[in-house]
Symmetry: C2
Subunit: 220 residues, 2 copies
Amino acid sequence: MDIKLVKDILEANDVVARGIREKLEQSGTVMINVMGSPGSGKTSLIAKTIEGMGETHRIGVIEGDICTSIDAERLARYHIPVVQINTEPFGGECHLPAPAVGKALESFDLSSCDLLFVENVGNLVCPAEFEIGEAAKVVVLSLPEGDDKPLKYPLMFRESRAMVISKIDLGPHIDTNIGKLTGNAHLVNPGLDIFLLSAREGTGLEAWFAWLEGVLRSKG
Amino acid sequence: MDIKLVKDILEANDVVARGIREKLEQSGTVMINVMGSPGSGKTSLIAKTIEGMGETHRIGVIEGDICTSIDAERLARYHIPVVQINTEPFGGECHLPAPAVGKALESFDLSSCDLLFVENVGNLVCPAEFEIGEAAKVVVLSLPEGDDKPLKYPLMFRESRAMVISKIDLGPHIDTNIGKLTGNAHLVNPGLDIFLLSAREGTGLEAWFAWLEGVLRSKG
């Protein structure tokens, strides 16, 4: 009965996600679902992307958090459209369900937004199960989280089209083996595109921007 | 209807948790529920605790993961009882529910186990909602995760009796403000006991051991 119910919830979610996808296709907006653990560097990645691509693209952000608008306030400094979703009124949900994203989209003028980031709730597990109508899912994994994570949390890496390994400047101070990490990620998903970067030092961003340009050109 | 169902699931879980608590009280076993994000350092904390307290206490571990037995194998090297729970056969659950813990307990000779660690699935959100009959919940937060996490994921910090801030050796290389982090944690839960340590450098462990001794003396 539990399994049946979970199936129903996921199916209902997917129906809404399909509607969102159609709406975004009509407006020509590419939506990227950014997922990863708390503190993996999702907001920093989006901030650096706005800095690097905000002059040539019209970027918007939907911020998903259980509580607070800390991240939304941080990104609003860039004077771009930012909408905050707090899941606490809905029981502190551990992921963004498609209906919450659909509701947030009502606040956007999609016709003037080319690239829309959704920063999901910090969680390497649950968000991967919920389609939100995105063009692509991206997982952000910070180097200190360790090289075994793709094996231990495979769904996230299987569902994602790209993995951003963040905080690589910490490499000399920790034991994570980057070769092992990328190898484990490709074991789970051989087609995963991988980027290594440090938002703090500003390194590795160009390859990430080029990948996004490719997704934008192909409209997903 | 959704909310009603979630309530039913949590209530059913709590009934099982109460049974587990009674069983542990009878055997005089203190069970600690160790929670935190993927890669926060939960396994390292348990490993260092076995090294520091394993000669004077009979320690056991239940390892909760979606997939793999990487952590269980790492801890089995200490020649202590370790039971692995994989949640993948149950839909890749993002937390350990009480029935899974109850099942794992059947594999333990509880009469010869004083201190039992349960390493929950790596997730700063969902595990906090599920009682498992533990004497105390402990959240492990690694310094690179950032100082705003107690505000953004308050339930975990509200439910926990202690917070272990791990990887403090990375302090000089990152922007996390420890004073702000502990302040935010105490805003959410004024009674939270806080420990700062580095498993890598072996610092800060004595205060953590002393806290565990106190929990053991009071049997929870």
